[in-house]
Amino acid sequence: PAPEPASSDAKVLASPVVRKRAKDLGIDLSQVKPHEDGRIRHADLDAYISYTGGFSGAAPARSD
């Protein structure tokens, strides 16, 4: 079943690989704005990274 949209206090939805990447990058996923279905994808992480001007060089953008 498709993941339902996250409500405000809901847990972060993300695939393990996204979680891993965020962790490696030291990013707190709850700060990342999810995709409209509530799930955080690589693209959302990329957006967050470029927004924060962080580690975009170290972590090349990926597509899902």
């Binding site: 847990k11 695939s15 393990p16």
Partner: protein
């Protein structure tokens, strides 16, 4: 309400069903005059007579086979297999016949039997008195698999099984017949005395099949268990002071997927515990389902804590048993992830 251990609770369920329904019939090795090697049927032959409660030849194939025929007549047989380890000679009758009968006859004939059998280790029973073969049965379409963890549940679930019109295998965790077990084999054994779950109504009541029980609520992780392991898991969680949500599955098929899904989505972490051999144990199905349904909520790999992929060794049974150390390690791993 009366304080009962699990044996008494099972006896009470059987007694009530024999009383309420003339078609309920008990059969098995040593269950009649003697009342069963674990005394679950004590006194019932005396009360209901030899056609309702009877000893059988030592043939598990015969026991389950005649139960199919009795069901075809209209009885509601409750065969006992003395130990789960000895169910294999009866598997063809259970799998190819009892479980398939409704389907292949388009419901003209049914096999409304409840096969009771003590299972699990921790009693120095050696490899042929300790097995936990439940996952084999969960793979058989047409069979239900039920496992209680307390006297209260044992009675209510067993009554539901007997009234159910499908064949059910009801595995009784023999390690906790006489008292709950926290996994410390080196501490004195506890009896059911004083436990809430040993307060059992003397009358008829049912616990629906397919509904899990929330043993304790928590936020940090979800632990799925059944039978003896419910108690071990609970005590480890208590001891470690972990905010674990513990679900006692009670029925493996059909599974209470809703309860599982809700809990794992809440906690984001899941530990599955069973005593059976790891490979293709029921934990693998649970893990697969949780992963399929809660994937994006998972914050750490689902962990399985199980018995090892060896026969249950007599003298090293506590090395085999998935006890507090093994469970504790897995909890730590999940919390640290």
């Amino acid at each position: 309400v009366r304080e009962m251990n699990m044996i008494e609770a099972i006896n009470s369920a059987l007694d009530i069903m024999l009383e309420r329904d003339d078609n309920v019939t008990l059969l098995g090795e040593d269950i009649g005059y003697f009342g069963g090697v674990f005394r679950c049927t004590a006194g019932l032959q005396e009360k209901y007579g030899k056609t309702r409660v009877f000893d059988t030849p030592i043939s598990e194939c015969g026991i389950i086979g005649v139960a199919v025929g009795m069901g075809a007549y209209g009885l509601r047989p409750v065969p006992e297999i003395q130990f789960a380890d000895y169910i294999y000679p009866g598997l063809d009758q259970l799998i190819s016949e009892a479980a398939r009968l409704r389907y292949r006859s388009a419901a003209e004939f049914i096999a409304p039997m409840t096969v009771r059998s003590p299972f699990g280790g921790g009693i120095f029973g050696g490899q042929t008195h300790s097995q936990s073969p439940e996952s084999i049965f969960t793979h058989v379409s047409g069979l239900k698999t039920v496992i209680p963890s307390t006297p209260y549940d044992a009675k209510g679930l067993l009554i539901s099984c007997i009234e159910d019109n499908d064949p059910v295998i009801f595995f009784e965790p023999k390690r906790i017949y006489n008292g709950p077990f926290d996994g410390y084999y080196d501490k004195p054994a506890k009896s059911w005395k004083g436990f809430d779950a040993a307060q059992v109504p003397t009358d008829y009541y049912k616990i629906p099949l397919g509904k899990a029980r929330t043993v304790r609520e928590g936020e940090a992780l979800t632990i799925l268990a059944y039978g003896t392991m419910v108690h071990v898991v609970e005590s480890v969680a208590r001891e470690k002071g972990v905010d674990a949500e513990v679900l006692d599955l009670r029925t493996l098929v059909p599974l209470d997927i809703e309860a599982i899904e809700a809990s794992v989505k809440k906690t984001g972490k899941c530990l599955i515990v069973h005593e059976a051999t790891r490979t293709s144990g029921f934990g693998s199905e649970l893990s697969a389902m949780v992963q399929e349904r809660c994937f994006y909520h998972l914050e750490a790999p689902i962990e399985r804590v199980t018995g090892f992929d060896t026969p249950y060794p007599h003298s090293l049974e506590w090395a085999y048993f998935p006890g507090p150390v093994r469970i504790g390690e897995a909890i730590d791993k999940l919390l640290e992830a």
